[in-house]
């Protein structure tokens, strides 16, 4: 039966590529019992890494959300020269290697970089410190809010906004009462995607952070640090925490998805 064959192929592939590997991670993390796994994610170094990841996300996500909404308004509602370039730059992080992103920031803020000598003369640390890690995270997660909001803005058109304006509403009132309620689920969905991408960033951050344990080490860097130091339980335990976060993201995505037919 054709239907059954296709189902078997699809589910078999998913089991081999996705579910199989993922379930082994959980098993590996708790191989030596719950205790070692627990202490691997609650020791000061791990706690600091998770805290740093959350702090970076807490800055990059709101910044990209405000940018994303404004950028979407600009793309949909305002013709201007260079729009094609703007679109291309916003999409680029979807296709560009995070290593290249990190390296570009490294060149800009490093000792010999354009801003490097001025910054170090003024005692401002960007590279191997929080600012460059925030910039790297913001770079890689820039497209998501824009890409979710643009199609919705296109679809709702401007009739209602014009009506509100005719009735004497100010520009801010129109945005708050008409435009924003129409795009809020798309914004929310975009925020979830941005958050997921920010929490998981590894390549760009590993170039710009200097990977100093307990200082500039994020959760993903902690995972690779543990692995490189042959602390397999530690690496897998921290992975489990990140995987649980990813599953929380998936659940949120699915709660948001049916609303207004986003995707």
């Amino acid at each position: 039966m054709r239907r059954l064959t296709l189902r078997t192929v699809a589910l078999g592939y998913l089991a081999l590529i996705l579910l199989g590997p993922l379930s082994i991670v959980f098993w590996r993390a708790f191989e030596k019992g719950f205790g070692p796994a627990w202490s691997a994610v609650t020791n000061p170094e791990a706690m600091h890494a998770f805290k740093l990841t959350l702090e970076i996300t807490a800055i990059a996500v709101p910044a990209n959300t405000i940018f994303g909404v404004l950028c979407a308004l600009l793309i949909v509602r305002h013709p201007f020269p260079g729009k094609g370039l703007l679109n291309a730059l916003v999409d680029l992080p979807l296709a560009l290697s995070p290593i290249v992103v990190g390296f570009a920031l490294f060149l800009l803020y490093g000792r010999t970089g354009w801003f490097g000598s001025w910054l170090s003369a003024h005692g401002i640390h960007v590279l191997f410190a929080m600012p460059s890690m925030i910039l790297a995270t913001a770079f890689v997660s820039i497209p998501f809010v824009v890409r979710e909001v643009v199609p919705v803005l296109r679809e709702i058109g401007t009739d209602q906004e014009q009506a509100a304006e005719t009735l004497g509403a100010s520009q801010w009132q129109v945005f708050r009462r008409v435009t924003f309620p129409a795009i809020r689920w798309a914004v929310a969905y975009g925020v979830v995607l941005t958050t997921a991408r920010s929490l998981g960033e590894y390549g760009a951050v590993s170039v710009v952070s200097g990977r100093l344990a307990g200082q500039t080490e994020t959760a993903t860097l902690y995972v690779s640090d543990r692995y490189e130091n042959f602390d397999i339980v530690g690496a897998y335990a921290a992975s489990v925490v990140l995987a649980l976060m990813a599953i929380a993201v998936l659940i949120t995505m699915n709660l948001l998805r049916p609303k207004e037919g986003v995707h």
């Binding site: 192929v9 305002h78 992080p93 296709a95 060149l107 770079f139 690779s224």
Partner: protein, 263 residues
């Protein structure tokens, strides 16, 4: 002139400034760095045997992965739209897991099942097969998510008409369904290819990064940065940047083609 946003002309200023600071400026620094050594310097860094081998491997592996995705992604999308089975909702939600899961965790995940301590006795660690497996994991969502909405919208009456006119299953698929899916499949494949070209986190652990054997371009660039060869890293980065831009242009063209196809 049409109202742009509640923030008026400020919007353009904010969007352009933010995008310049986060995306455009670092990329300009990168391109500038690559031209520093002159044409010959750039060319020498570009054509060093290790860089060429890494690029060839990256392109080859990404191509293989994109093609596998074209087939498996279409089958999975088909099963998720046309088939009914218990747990379908969960399977559908899991498709996005590779997006939500940090890439370094994805790498450890593949290593746990297909590495030296594999519980199923398959050990592909430090081989090119490992690269393909890791890339298949991280690129899973793209084709599924571009084909799925097209299949959902596809008018089933067309297929029923074809069948009632005596077309076989295969004829109905190849003559009726496939032409409609093609633009979606191609943009999904292009996105998967772009993602695969730049992938770092999931590959860096499982392949061992042996030059000329399992070293892909992003890992090569990382190595060059670590060893202080800035011009080598810059040349290879510019190559990846160019490929990313090219793929994005291609996806843009595909989208326009799909819209015209639809109209």
């Amino acid at each position: 002139m049409r109202r742009v946003s509640p923030f008026g002309g400020l919007t353009l200023g904010v969007v352009v400034t933010y995008l310049s600071l986060v995306v455009a400026l670092p990329l300009t620094a990168l391109i500038w760095q690559s031209t520093k050594g002159g044409k010959t310097g750039f060319w020498e860094s570009l054509t060093s045997p290790e860089a060429i081998a890494a690029l060839k491997l990256t392109l080859g592996a990404s191509l293989v992965v994109a093609l596998i995705n074209a087939i498996t992604g279409t089958i999975i999308a088909w099963v998720l739209v046309r088939d009914e089975f218990p747990g379908k909702g969960v399977v559908n939600a899991l498709i996005d897991l590779p997006f939500a899961l940090p890439t370094i965790v994805a790498g450890l995940t593949m290593l746990a099942l297909y590495g030296p301590r594999s519980p199923v006795g398959i050990d592909v660690a430090y081989t090119r097969t490992a690269i393909v497996l890791a890339l298949l994991f991280v690129t899973l969502p793209f084709v599924v998510r571009t084909v799925q909405p097209v299949l959902q919208e596809l008018d089933r009456e067309l297929e029923e008409a074809a069948e009632s006119l005596g077309a076989s299953n295969w004829q109905t698929f190849s003559r009726v369904v496939f032409p409609n899916l093609l633009p979606g499949i191609l943009s999904g494949v292009a996105l998967a290819f772009a993602k695969a070209i730049g992938e770092f986190g999931s590959i860096v652990i499982i392949t061992g990064n042996i030059p000329f054997k399992t070293e892909v371009s992003s890992v090569y660039i990382f190595g060059q940065i670590e060893s202080g060869n800035t011009s080598g890293a810059a040349a290879a980065s510019v190559v990846l940047l160019t490929i990313s831009f090219g793929v994005l242009l291609l996806i843009g063209a595909l989208r326009r083609w799909a819209t015209r196809h639809h109209a």
